[in-house]
């Protein structure tokens, strides 16, 4: 239904564009071109930029993140755990079509301004000469001081300035130069993220915030709802998006839609047949979401839910969590459950299923935490388990990512070495550069599509009318009315206890590249 609505909305925009044709509608024009049946034909130019997972890449941890969308992420989370054993997916026919449509994007950081007009101060953070954007960055130094994480990922300010410089060297966005500011925050608690939100929106008065306040939804809500400022590259669900008073775009799949996508992909792959008795499990915080999205999606796919369980112990209370899971195991055993759909990060319970000898098939759309839960269990080979992922894993890059990294190296003079090849004690520039490439490219393309009269409204119109979009490390992506989460290209993955680093187990791709928008 959503796709149908999206189609009608885009169709309406197409009609409007055909009737109009003034500069303000050029973004719509462009979108309609790319969504039209004619766009199925291979484009004559830039075929090399189509995303093509390399032979080594694919699985690793390129999963679908539901809340860990740091700029440095390519959509998964624990990139460092990527493996070389995972198989690459073969793009499906639909995929090929979308890839080719995606190739319509401008070369990275060389945006074509959609429309003409005199430049002026059109919105907060936008002057005749400049556009100011803010980017939150995780404070690894403070995390290190707290003894939590020892990571050296460079100064993200350098990355942003280099990328901005590349855009500015190419004429900026519709003639406006891009200015960047960053704010360091901690990915727990909300104090630093709220302060960061206020810093960007009140102190610096940026036009848009690029990248999320990772793991701190309130920080993102502060930007979009309280301060009516655009936020690009941050996760949301339908409720968050509905509350936003400004454009909000996610690079990956929305935290609720991912459940539908997962079920659809499983259905398409025939993995929902013969599941036996099925249980659905979630945390209390997402109980309603799972009841309203996952359960109906499964039922619509012909899966009958025999048991539903909800865990409500505080995170970190291993003892209480394990005790409750042991009872769940007994519930599953009594109901002869063969399959359990586990939502979110409630994966530590898999150990209790093992301990209690419950042999079930597991499904979870959260690639990274699921991988962590299975790999950390006492018997990694115990379960047959499936998840959803992105075709880009580990250090995988597509051409657009490579172009972005080249631009960074050119502007900063810093050599970027893939994380897996990085000598010890060297700064890992690769991970953050790749992350900022994604969100910065997204912004540049959208802002250019919004035209010279850059406001929240024109940016929203550009998003609504964009259609397929080419992004670093995205196989297929698109934006449109009601579709503000970009990723379309996903793969199904199956747990292989022998795969991965030290053969400690990892997910491997088992499906063709799936275009969920197709």
């Amino acid at each position: 239904m959503k796709k149908l609505l999206t189609f009608f909305a885009v169709f309406g925009l197409l009609l409007a564009a055909c009737a109009g044709g003034d500069s303000g509608n050029e973004a719509s024009n462009r979108a309609s071109d790319r969504d039209s049946p004619a766009s199925d034909a291979p484009p004559p130019t830039q075929p090399a930029e189509a995303p093509a997972p390399d032979d080594n890449g694919a699985a690793g941890d390129a999963g679908i993140s539901n809340g860990d969308d740091a700029p440095e992420s390519t959509g998964g989370g624990a990139e460092d755990e990527a493996t070389e054993d995972a198989a690459s997916p073969e793009p499906s026919d639909d995929a090929v079509a979308s890839e080719e449509v995606g190739a319509m994007s401008d070369p990275i950081f060389q945006p074509t301004c959609q429309g003409e007009g005199e430049l002026s101060a059109t919105a907060t953070g936008v002057t005749a000469e400049t556009i100011k954007v803010g980017a939150p960055q995780i404070d690894y130094e403070e995390l290190s001081n707290l003894g939590l994480v020892q990571l050296d990922r460079g100064d993200n300010e350098v990355i942003l300035q280099a990328l901005a410089q590349e855009v500015n060297d190419n004429g900026g966005i519709c003639g406006r130069m891009v200015e960047t500011v960053t704010y360091k925050f901690l990915p727990f608690g909300t104090d630093t993220s709220l302060a960061g939100c206020v810093y960007f929106t009140e102190d610096e008065q940026v036009f848009a915030v690029l990248g999320p306040f990772t793991r701190v939804p309130a920080g993102n809500i502060c930007v979009t709802e309280t301060h009516s400022t655009a936020l690009l590259g941050a996760p949301f669900n339908a409720e968050d998006r509905a509350r936003a008073n400004a454009p909000w775009v996610h690079l990956e799949i929305a935290t609720d839609r991912v459940l539908e996508v997962f079920v659809a992909a499983l259905d398409k792959a025939g993995l929902l047949a013969d599941l036996g008795n099925v249980a659905v499990h979630s945390g209390a915080g997402r109980q309603e979401l799972v009841d309203n999205v996952l359960v109906p999606a499964l039922e619509a796919a012909g899966v009958e839910i025999a048991e539903r369980t909800v865990i409500d112990v505080p995170s970190g209370d291993t003892q209480a969590g394990a005790a409750v899971w042991r009872t769940f195991a007994e519930i599953y055993r009594n109901a002869d459950i063969n399959t359990v759909f586990i939502d979110g990060d409630n994966v530590f319970g898999v150990e209790q299923l093992i301990q209690n000898g419950l042999d079930v098939k597991l499904f979870n759309a959260e690639f990274s935490t699921f991988s962590y839960g299975l790999g950390g269990s006492s018997d990694p080979g115990y379960f047959e388990a499936y998840t959803l992922g992105s075709p880009y894993a580990g250090d995988d890059t597509n051409q657009r990512t490579d172009d972005c990294i080249d631009a960074f190296e050119r502007q900063s003079g810093i050599e970027v070495i893939p994380t897996e090849q990085l000598p010890e004690d060297e700064t890992d520039w690769f991970t953050p550069v790749r992350g900022y490439c994604r969100v910065f490219d997204l912004f540049v393309q959208l802002a250019a599509a919004a035209g010279p009269n850059l406001t929240n409204e024109t940016l929203q119109a550009a998003i609504d009318g964009f259609g397929p979009i080419e992004l670093p490390n995205e196989a297929f992506a698109s934006l449109g009315v009601g579709k503000y989460d970009a990723r379309d290209g996903v793969v199904l993955m199956k747990w292989d206890p022998e795969a991965g680093e030290d053969n400690a187990g990892d997910f491997v791709v088992i499906s063709d590249l799936i275009d969920t928008a197709g």
Binding site: E142, G147, T190, L194, V198, C222, N334, E351
Partner: protein, 956 residues
């Protein structure tokens, strides 16, 4: 009708879970029995051992059993080390401080565990256990590690019980727990006992956590017991009355079973068990409260603001030094946003102010009433989320099932919503406090910890509070002032903080504040002066709740977007405690300093490497060890030293003129009583299986002095306690013809039953004048409402109360001591203050327990005339326990002699003195003792000087 389904496997799983809960509860009970403190590090102590076992076996290839032994012993050694470095140093500190220290120890253990090497899971990813495998036994699926739990837990529980009940060391632990001073006299060092107890607790925790880790299966990722488990463990210990090992174990098993039952039958009802646990904790404190007895000790948080030296007390700047200090802080706070203009910084400054405000809620509760709450952030959450709900005008569901309905609430302005939210929080505090505050001890801490868990696990998700969202919005509505601006909101927060400081400081200065401190310092004595400790506690908790609720509303307004999984969490409550303790919970300035430290430092210097250390558990522990009164102690000590130094340089001021006061009793409500004014008929008091008072009957007639004599342990004090209402008894007790045996002690005191205690500890942190004013509360009660609202008649009453206290002090010659703390007085002077309290109380029957106890013999002779003079002033009857035979024989009209709880003789002093049973039982056959008991004249023949001539300045 609710239908349960239960399988034998679910019962089995519940029992296994419950055994572990119960086993951990034993650790709580053990430490509480030995040192009267709840050990929040009960699980964390064992975490290191559990990790060590995995390390030794998996990383270093040790055989299992040697590794187990080393790990368990390490648990004991770690506990010993912590005891010797932290607990010993705080041995004399109030238990509240010690409790907070255990929270710091818990966090320290977790930090240490993180510092351990990573466990190598390449060889095996299963936690090492003594017995692996899985079998089907009697239809149950049983794992090897579960069998170990079934065997080890009951065996160790029995061994521990045996150790405490039957061994000399165990009895020593119990003796040290019940009376450290007495234990010391019997050559048992409470410090050694404490160390032994902590070692045992460490060993228990090590075994418990190794079992828990074995049950859970995975070797890594186990850092500590989470809050849900901790609340379960505390609830089990509470049900076991914090004393009874078998009861705590049974309660643990019952709770484990309950969880299995609830989860099995309602697997989708989130929060059901946490809600049940909360209700169980509240119900336990309500139902079992009467049977629970707390330790009668001061719960005072140091520091106390000392009276000013006389030489400088009249200097304006000295008298107002506290106000000047606070004023400077406020002035600095007012200037700050003009110096730092970034809105993002001003947001953090506001947060510091509002955490300070919430910290002040703990000053009222902990600093002044001696209770500790571990759920202040939950109360703040109730206030904050209620404020948001009211601003949004959300509907509220009332009732359950078909009997429910929805109440549509109008959306109201932010400012009004703030006040309503605070009031709602105050009401919640009443519900929680009703049970938990009826008893001394840490029951409120457990109840509020359960509330904190309930909040984050259940309450915040209720539709009314959450609006069916996980991030609640609270727009700061524009009204007369646009609060949307960060600087404006900062000033709004500052004004709120200043108003709360002024109101709370004023309240402290009224009779209500004095009542709180009296209850904190000595709840028994407070009861004797008509103050209900539970009522005072509830009043303080309500005020505390209202402040926390207001702070929560303001915080919610500051955040605007309130993440329900991020705000008002249990760790925030612990942070509030840390703010109060680090700053100094005894003064309103303390939380400001604490908030600057805990919230301000990390916010303002995030990149500083020292800041995480200083604000962490390590910083908390170090500060507690050296400055248990927090930063306020440092400041006040500095101030006192400076003023002392300055005063020494000034000429000694002229002493105030001596005031002669002829009478201090103005009672006009005397009841004419023809019969006895006090009747105790067939009174029996039992403690467990021991009968302390056995069918004793005594009568005291109007104006009469009745002596109560007997050997130590004869039951005299117990009988007097029964009469006064401090121990439950059977039998009949009448005061002026009115049955009072069902009444609480404070009610009996209000009817005119005065009581002076053997220990005469009074209120260590109150001055003599304040102590007398506390007693004067009986006749000139400061209304709580008046004090809260700061109404003019409250001020007038306060002035009158102070004047009356001055009169009594002058009447007894206590003028020079008026501003001294009672803890600074000699025993004799303190006893005179206690008698002054009886005057203030205007008691009709005086029950005096060894009024000359601890007084130098040369002063004892002055006491008898003083007692009679006070009796005459009051026109009261007197029941006196006294071992000084000449004195008791001299002042008494009649004497009762008790032996083994029974009255063995009654009559005039001469009759009792000659009674063979008394001679055999008490006086002995020593002729000198008998002669001495009759060596002086009886009361009728005595002539005594007036009180003011008894005590001269400098004398006791």
């Amino acid at each position: 009708m609710v239908a349960f389904t239960l399988t034998s496997q679910i019962v089995y799983l519940g029992v296994i879970d419950g055994l572990l809960i119960g086993f951990l509860a034993l650790g709580i009970v053990l430490i509480y029995r030995a040192s009267g403190v709840i050990n929040f590090a009960v699980g964390s102590l064992g975490v290191l051992s559990a990790s060590l076992l995995a390390l030794l076996v998996l990383n270093y290839g040790w055989p299992f059993w040697p590794a187990v032994i080393v790990s368990v012993v390490a648990g004991g050694l770690i506990a010993a080390a912590l005891e010797l470095t932290v607990i010993t140093r705080l041995f004399r500190a109030p238990r509240v401080i010690l409790l907070v220290a255990t929270i710091g120890i818990a966090q320290l253990c977790e930090l240490l565990q993180v510092a351990l090497p990573d466990i190598d899971v390449s060889m095996a990813n299963r936690y090492p256990v003594a017995l692996s495998g899985r079998w089907e036994i009697l239809g149950l699926r049983v794992r090897g590690v579960e069998l170990i739990v079934i065997i080890v837990v009951p065996v160790l529980t029995a061994a521990l019980t045996y150790y405490l009940q039957r061994t000399a060391q165990g009895r020593a632990i119990r003796a040290a727990a019940s009376n450290p001073d007495l234990a010391r006299l019997t050559a048992i060092s409470p410090k050694i006992i404490s160390t032994i107890t902590w070692i045992i607790a460490g060993l228990l925790a090590a075994v418990a956590l190794i079992l828990v880790a074995g049950i859970n299966g995975q070797p890594s990722g186990f850092r500590s017991l989470g809050p849900a488990t901790l609340v379960q463990v505390l609830a089990a210990a509470l049900i076991g009355r914090l004393r009874n090992f078998p009861a705590a174990m049974i309660a643990g098993v019952a709770l484990g079973l309950l969880r299995s039952l609830l989860v099995f039958n309602w697997p989708t009802t989130a929060g059901l068990y946490d809600g049940s646990l909360f209700l169980i904790v509240i119900a336990t404190t309500l139902v079992a409260g009467r049977r629970l007895t707390g330790r009668d000790e001061s719960f005072s948080f140091v520091p106390t603001t000392r009276p000013l030296p006389h030489a400088v007390a009249r200097l304006w700047w000295v008298r107002h030094s506290s106000r000047i200090g606070i004023g400077l802080l406020i002035a600095g706070a007012a200037i700050l946003p003009f110096l730092v203009t970034l809105a993002s910084r001003q947001l953090l400054f506001s947060e510091v102010l509002l955490f300070a405000l919430i910290g002040i809620s703990l000053v009222v509760l902990s600093g002044w009433t001696g209770q500790i709450s571990l759920g202040q952030a939950a109360l703040a959450g109730i206030g904050g989320l209620t404020t948001a709900a009211l601003v949004a005008g959300r509907d509220i569901g009332v009732g359950v099932g078909e009997a429910s309905f929805t109440l549509a609430l109008p959306d109201i302005h932010f400012l009004l919503a703030l006040l309503v939210g605070a009031a709602v929080t105050g009401a919640v505090a009443v519900v929680i406090g009703l049970g938990a505050l009826r008893i001394r001890g840490f029951h409120l801490a457990i109840a509020t910890l359960a509330l904190a868990l309930l909040g984050q696990q259940f309450l915040w998700r209720r539709p009314f509070l959450s609006g069916d969202s996980y991030t609640v919005s609270l727009p700061r509505a524009a009204g007369p002032v646009d609060l949307a601006d960060q600087r404006t909101y900062y000033f709004f927060s500052l004004i709120a903080l200043v108003v709360v400081i002024v109101l709370v400081a004023r309240m402290r200065a009224t009779g209500v504040g004095r009542r709180w401190l009296a209850v904190r310092d000595n709840s028994t004595a407070a009861s004797a002066y008509t103050i209900s400790p539970s009522r005072a506690g509830i009043q303080a908790f309500v005020v505390s709740g209202v402040i926390a609720g207001l702070g929560g509303g303001l915080l919610a307004g500051l955040y605007v977007s309130i993440g329900l999984t991020e705000r008002f969490q249990l760790q925030d409550s612990i942070e509030v405690v840390a703010i109060a303790v680090i700053g100094g919970a005894g003064t309103v300035v303390g939380p400001i300093l604490g908030a600057l430290w805990i919230v301000g430092l990390p916010a303002l210097w995030p990149a500083n490497e020292l800041v995480p250390l200083l604000t962490s558990s390590v910083g908390l522990l170090i500060l507690l060890m050296y400055f248990p009164g927090g930063f306020a102690q440092v400041v006040l000590t500095g101030r006192d030293r400076f003023l002392g130094w300055y005063a020494a340089r000034l000429p000694e001021p002229e002493p105030p003129p001596k005031r002669e006061v002829a009478s201090v009793v103005s009672r006009s409500d005397a009841v004419a009583v023809t019969g006895p004014v006090l009747v105790a008929e067939e009174v029996t008091v039992t403690f467990g299986g021991l009968t302390a008072v056995d069918d004793a009957s005594i009568r005291v007639h109007s104006g009469e002095v009745v002596g109560l004599i007997g050997t130590n342990g004869a039951g005299k004090t117990t009988l007097m306690n029964a009469i006064s209402g401090f121990v439950p008894c059977s039998g009949r007790i009448e005061l002026e013809g009115r049955a009072i045996e069902k009444m609480a002690a404070d009610r009996r005191a209000a009817l005119g039953l005065g009581r002076a205690f053997q220990q005469s500890r009074l209120f260590p942190d109150l001055t003599v004048l304040e102590t007398l004013a506390v007693a004067a509360e009986s006749r000139q009660r400061t209304s709580f409402t008046t004090a809260v609202a700061h109404l003019p008649n409250g001020y007038r009453r306060d002035q009158a109360q102070r004047a009356h206290a001055h009169d009594i002090a002058d009447f007894l010659g206590l003028g020079p001591y008026a501003d001294k703390f009672t803890s600074e007085l000699s025993t004799g002077t303190r006893r005179i203050v206690e008698l002054g309290c009886l005057l203030a109380l205007e008691a009709r029957v005086l029950c005096l327990d060894e009024p000359t106890g601890g007084v130098a013999q040369r002063e004892v002779e002055a006491f008898a005339p003083l007692l009679l003079s006070i009796k005459d002033q009051l026109g009261a009857a007197m029941l006196v326990i006294e071992h000084d035979m000449p004195m008791i024989m001299q002042i008494s009209h009649r004497i009762y002699c008790l032996e083994a709880g029974r009255v063995i003789a009654m009559g005039s002093p001469a009759e009792v003195r000659a009674d063979p049973a008394v001679i055999a039982s008490y006086l002995g056959t020593d002729e000198r003792a008998i002669r001495r008991s009759g060596a002086t004249a009886s009361a009728e023949e005595a002539h005594f000087p007036t009180p003011t001539t008894v005590l001269n300045e400098g004398e006791t």
